[in-house]
Symmetry: C2
C-alpha cells in the first residue's frame, strides 16, 4: 500500500513523452528542460523516478525497442527470403515515415549524434542494429537449402544490402522523404534480388 504524497504523473506515460523528445532531438540535443516540459514533471521527480538523463535515455530506449524495431521481426514469418527482405523494407519505410512519431530511426540518429562522452550509448545502438542484420543473414542462410536462394548468392552480403537500404531510407525520411518515395526505392531495390 502506497503512503506519502501521491505522484501526479503516470510513470510509463512520462517515459513515452521522454522517448518522443529523445527521438526527435537526439540524446545530447535534448535538455533537461525539454524533458520536464514534455513529461510534465519537474526535475526532482525526474531524478527520483528515472535516476539521471542517461538512465532515462536507456529506459526510453528499451521502450523504443518494443516499438518500431519489434515490428520488423514480423517480416521473418514470410515464406521466402525475397518476401522477408521486401517485407522488412516495407515495415521500415512505414516506421520511419510514421506521422505519429518523429521521422527516422532513433538508433541511427542517436548513434551519430552523440559525442565521445556518450560512447557507451553509441556502441549499444550500433550493436542493436548489427543484431538485426544478423537475424536477416541467418534467415537468408536458411533459405539456401530449399533452393529459395540461388546457390551462388551470399546471405551475408544480401543482409548487408538490405540493411544499407533500410538505413538509407531512415536518413531520407529524417530529411523529409515521403512514404511513397521510399516505396519507389524499395521497388527498384528489390530488382537486385537474385533469382
Amino acid at each position: 500500500m502506497a503512503t506519502g504524497r501521491p505522484r501526479t504523473f503516470d510513470n510509463t506515460e512520462a517515459l513515452k513523452s521522454a522517448l518522443q523528445v529523445f527521438w526527435q532531438k537526439g540524446y545530447e540535443g535534448t535538455s533537461l528542460s525539454d524533458l520536464t516540459e514534455a513529461m510534465k514533471i519537474n526535475r526532482s521527480s525526474l531524478y527520483a523516478t528515472f535516476g539521471s538523463k542517461e538512465q532515462l535515455f536507456n529506459q526510453a530506449l528499451d521502450l523504443y525497442f518494443e516499438g518500431p524495431p519489434k515490428l520488423t521481426s514480423a517480416a521473418f514469418n514470410e515464406s521466402t527470403a525475397r518476401a522477408v527482405a521486401e517485407r522488412f523494407l516495407h515495415v521500415t519505410a512505414d516506421s520511419v515515415t510514421n506521422p505519429s512519431t518523429p521521422r527516422g530511426c532513433l538508433t541511427i540518429r542517436g548513434a551519430i549524434a552523440c559525442g565521445e562522452d556518450a560512447e557507451s550509448v553509441r556502441q549499444e545502438l550500433v550493436s542493436r542494429r548489427v543484431e538485426s542484420e544478423m537475424a536477416l543473414r541467418h534467415r537468408f542462410e536458411q533459405a539456401k537449402s530449399p533452393g529459395d536462394l540461388p546457390a551462388g548468392s551470399d546471405p551475408a552480403a544480401l543482409a548487408r544490402y538490405i540493411m544499407t537500404i533500410a538505413e538509407g531510407m531512415s536518413i531520407r525520411a529524417a530529411d523529409g522523404s515521403t512514404r511513397e518515395e521510399l516505396q519507389d526505392v524499395i521497388d527498384i531495390a528489390m530488382q537486385a534480388w537474385p533469382t
Copy 2:
C-alpha cells in the same frame, strides 16, 4: 603590403583543422574549445578571422564540398547512366571509408546531429544533398533519349535509389563497415539497374 603584428597561423590550414573537428563531432557536438585546440589559435583570432562558430562551419563546409563531394562529380563524365551510377557509388564508398578522414559524410552527420537552434545549418546540409540527387536525376534524364536507359525507367526514382544507397553506406561506414563490405553492397545494388 601587410602591416601590424603578423598572424602565427595559416588561414587555410586552420580551416582544414576545423573541418576535421566538425566532421568528427558534428556542428553542435563541437565546442569553441575543441576548435581552438585543433586549429591551434585562440578565440580572438578565430572570431577575427572567421566571424563566428556558424560562419566558421559554413567556411569549413565550403572546403568540404571541394573535397569528397567534388570527387563524385567525376562520375558524371562516364558515358552511360549505369556507369555514372556505379562510379558515383564507388567514389562514395571510397570517401566514407577513407582512413585519413573521419568516417562517413559530414552533411549527414551534421544534419542529423544538430538541434532546432541550428535548423538553418541543417537545411543547408539537406539542400546540398538534394543538389547531388538532382544532378544524378538530370544526368539520368539525358540518358533516356539515346536509349541508354529503357523507355519505362524513372530517372527521379533511380536518382533517389542511388542516393539512398550512398547515404546508407555513409551510416554503415560511420558504424565501422569496411570498404570491401561496401563494395559488396554496390555489386548487389547495381543488379537492380534497368536493362
